[in-house]
Symmetry: C2
Subunit: 126 residues, 2 copies
DNA sequence: CCGTATCCAATTCGATACTG
DNA sequence: CAGTATCGAATTGGATACGG
């Protein structure tokens, strides 16, 4: 009871926790490499090197880092085949697929407004 | 004809240009501050300071920088009222609104899978 | 082939100060 | 109030090397 007057009701505290968590997740996921990886995977199962060659310009380090993050978040599943040379495959999980749908929307948007944006940038720079 | 064997057909060249442009736009837009600003604006018209207080943790510099970029891309409109003290208002344009719809999807996704993700992270860290 | 670690250059970002 | 510029601190990210 004493603490309530300082921390607010439990409900409010829960909401604040959920909000800051949502914000944290949003911030991690809303970065170009993570989104491009999700998009590259699509509904396929790809090896590390295959993902890499699907995404122009991504470095080994960025790919590992983001794949690890996505695995940690449960958005991609990592399967290690105990062979030599190593074969490691990545697939989207169900949450990952759900995210992919929204990224598809973002990609569609990009292509749809390509012209608008290019023109606007040109105007702005004048 | 001579150049074709080095550059490919004009159609292919156009596609490559469009692709790299799409990628450039995607990379600029897919950053947390830009997306949070779009989301904060929604269908409202907000002053600089209002946007700032809607987005916890954004610095003056980041806000200006991203607002400028979004204006350049034609996603937000900037209205300057010639009064003192200055009053500058920002609104989403039609392309900005279209983008907002897809970001709404991303936000919904975040809240929907909050629990999954939190659990998965906890498991992973063990 | 895949993953981790290290080093270091480049960029990012916040804080601050100053202008209209 | 809104915007720009500047300056370090901190983070990022690429290159490289080595290990399983």
């Amino acid at each position: 009871m004493v603490t309530k007057q300082f921390t607010g009701s439990p409900d409010e505290a829960d909401l604040r926790r959920a909000d800051s968590l949502a914000r944290e997740i949003f911030s991690d996921v809303a970065n170009k490499w993570a989104l491009l990886i999700i998009e590259a995977l699509g509904d396929r199962t790809l090896r590390f090197g295959e993902v890499r060659s699907e995404i122009e310009g991504i470095s080994h380090k960025m790919l590992t880092q983001n794949l690890r993050m996505l695995e940690r978040y449960g958005l991609v599943e990592r399967m290690v085949h105990p062979v030599v040379p190593p074969r490691v495959e990545y697939t989207l999980t169900e949450p990952g697929q759900a995210l992919r749908v929204t990224i598809d929307g973002l990609c569609d948007w990009t292509h749809r407004y390509l012209g608008h944006i290019e023109a606007s940038r040109h105007r702005f720079d004048a």
